[in-house]
């Protein structure tokens, strides 16, 4: 693993751990998993146009995040059902547009050599996500407890929700290179779910989620290199191991 890969994967893991905490507490773990599937058609279009797949994926995820945001709070439709239908369709369409090794890389991740635009995008996006959670954590906490209380405390709930969804989508885009469309949702959810079991307060949860995500990413990548296996499945396996270990605590 090159130094650029290592730095980028750690930055991505920190972002995933932080953003995942609020996803788990907001009970949107399944939506998170489904949202990552939206990236696939974007990857297909980008490959057809001979541009870096990460940018195609990021564009599609942006629309996916916008869609989840627009569906939230619409009482007349069941968001889970719509998310399930739309994102499964995205997976089907994406699978038709990509094939062979490219499809396997898109689904499960394939690190390979990173281009400079990719590294730059990854670092800037990771910093944006980390900065957002660190500076907005208090607003996110109040909104989580009660959107109505948040509103009267001067928080623009709808706007904050939209930015959170976009940061969430950006985090998925960040991890696609390492974990792929099918597994990136797991790196957002499993460390946060583990941290939720271990922590007694918010700072504890955020810190624990970051540690688990970084350990899973670095440990999984090292195992993948040592065992000559794909990176994504091993990252998720290490994260799942941490989750199982958390049951020993209480």
């Amino acid at each position: 693993m090159t130094i650029e890969n290592l730095v980028l994967s750690i930055a991505m893991a920190i972002a995933a751990g932080l953003v995942g905490c609020f996803a788990v507490m907001r009970r949107m773990a399944l939506a998170a998993d489904a949202l990552s599937h939206v990236a696939l058609p974007g990857i297909g279009v980008a490959l057809a146009l001979h541009i870096n797949p990460i940018f195609g994926a990021a564009a599609m995820l942006f629309f996916g995040g916008l869609m989840v945001w627009a569906l939230e709070g619409k009482a007349r439709v069941a968001p889970e059902a719509l998310i399930g239908v739309l994102f499964s369709v995205a997976l089907a369409v994406g699978s038709m547009m990509t094939s062979g090794e490219e499809l396997i890389d898109a689904l499960f991740g394939g690190a390979g050599a990173l281009s400079w635009p990719e590294i730059l995008f990854g670092l800037v996006a990771s910093l944006a996500v980390i900065g957002f959670i660190v500076t907005q954590r208090n607003r996110l906490v109040v909104m989580l407890v009660s959107p109505d209380v948040a509103r009267t405390a001067g928080i623009d709930v709808r706007r904050l929700n939209l930015i959170y969804m976009q940061m969430f989508a950006l985090t998925i885009a960040l991890g696609l290179r390492f974990l792929g469309v099918l597994l990136m949702g797991a790196l957002i959810i499993i460390p946060a779910a583990t941290a939720k079991r271990l922590a007694g307060n918010l700072t504890g949860m955020l810190s624990a989620a970051v540690i688990v995500a970084v350990v899973a990413t670095v440990g999984g990548s090292w195992l993948a290199t040592s065992l000559h296996r794909e990176t994504g499945p091993l990252i998720v396996t290490v994260a799942a191991g941490c989750f199982l270990l958390s049951f020993l605590r209480r």
Binding site: N138, V141, V145, P147, T152, K196, L202
Partner: protein, 231 residues
Amino acid sequence: MDKALEVDRLSVRFGKVQVLKDLSFSVAKGTSLAVIGPNGAGKTVLFQSLIGSIPSEGTIRWAPGVKIGYVPQKLDLERDVPITGDDFLRARRSLMHGSEADTPRILELVGISKEVSESSIGTLSGGQFQRLLVAFALLGNPSVLMLDEPTAGVDEPGQKQLNELIRHLQKERGFTVLFISHELSVVYEYAANVLCLGHGHTCFGPPRKILTPDLLAEIYGTRVDYHVHDH
């Protein structure tokens, strides 16, 4: 007298269901308005429309510069959410760039111990959580306090304590109070005006005029008794 809130022909509709229709009332600054009515009459919907969380028709006019402290009904939170009372109150302080100095006094006022404030909010009892929400609202130094059944889930002595506390603070700080309640004796005792929402009926006026057996029977669809405390 200056008005804290003026509402004119407020209507709220969810699809084909008309929840509120042409509701008009006003609240003078520093006074208390009680909202009463049977379940499903639209009391919480009224509060949500007043704070702008659901769309409505008509006019809602708050006094300029008003700061609202809102205490909703018990929320549906997961028990294992690792957010403590302290996390929640710290979030409030940071939003208003306030100091920590006020917090211990307010926690003591609402009757929350250090042990409770360090617990996860998902594990708090209904009454403890309600007190925490009141503390959260008070930390914002509100000019209007809106309480949606503030004593629901609170034990009997706690109810009295919480009601007394709100009255005491209202006198001390001069804020306006809007509260939803099913305790008609409390409404009689504390409210300057009562807004009643019944199925198809609305009325507004001082408690002596509104809390009559006939009017209550009309609003609730059945005879309602309540006890007025002697002083």
